[in-house]
Amino acid sequence: MTAADLSFLAAAAAMVGGAALAVTRRSAVYAALSVVVSFMGVGVAYFLLAAEFLGIAQVFIYAGAIIVLFLFVIMLLDLRRGVPDLVRGNDRPFHLPALLLALAVFLLAALPATVCPGEWPPLAPDDGFGSTGGLGRAVYSGHTLAFEVVGLVLLAAVVGSVAVAGARPPREAPPGGA
């Protein structure tokens, strides 16, 4: 068991454990935090996959920004008490079909694994495959159009968010009541 194997195992445990926890916690905050753990795991995996820039980006953007945004919203709406769903209540019937569905998805997605190679090809030490420079060159030479489009997507997302949940004067008596 090489160092890589060990660290991969740890990362995998973090990823799957975090995700599993996130999905099963009653409280939204716990869920968000377990997701952060899961994303840290993913970041480590990127490092192992010779994608240092991605690893850093994962930790900074995903774990650091998006999930923090989630936490921010959870705090804003004071949703800590969560929704009485998983444990009791009427969604009991959906628990089993969801599990079955998840299992089916897992089996299906894991199928390709059975036919692909078991070890990595040797990594040439000097070409800086995963380094920021290599990735930068790839992004700006081959995929510039993709990035322009992503820029647009982000812009649209920002405008959309403001439009949907923009700063409106808070109404005294919300319609429909709590």
Binding site: M1, M15, S38, L54, I61, L77, V105, A113, V164, A165
Partner: protein, 103 residues
């Protein structure tokens, strides 16, 4: 032991967990988080393939991961905005409440 096969298994696990979260949970926050998890599962698979094929193809894999992150961010943003609007209207975040559009 650490190989493409392992990475794919893990990403499948992430994807499955995400699906479970989306289908089973009534809390919209958890649903959105599950979606994020599913996206990461996919991104991990791309990175693994990137590592496997190296060269220009490898970089392409990594570019996709980068893109996924951007799109995930945008999606999270809009999702949460909708969640805010929904919560302001319905004082709760239970997806079962939104039943007006039924047959």
């Amino acid at each position: 032991m650490f190989s493409l096969r392992a990475c794919l298994v893990v990403s499948a696990a992430l994807l499955a967990t995400g699906v479970y979260g989306v289908v089973a949970r009534r809390n919209i926050i958890i649903v959105l988080l599950s979606v994020e998890v599913m996206l990461n599962g996919a991104a991990l698979a791309f990175a693994a393939f990137g590592r496997q094929w190296l060269g220009a193809a490898g970089h392409a894999g990594q570019v996709v991961v980068l893109l996924t992150m951007a799109v995930a961010a945008a999606e999270a943003g809009v999702g949460l905005a909708l969640l805010l609007a929904f919560e302001r209207h319905r004082r709760c975040v239970d997806s079962d409440d939104a039943r007006t559009l039924r047959g």
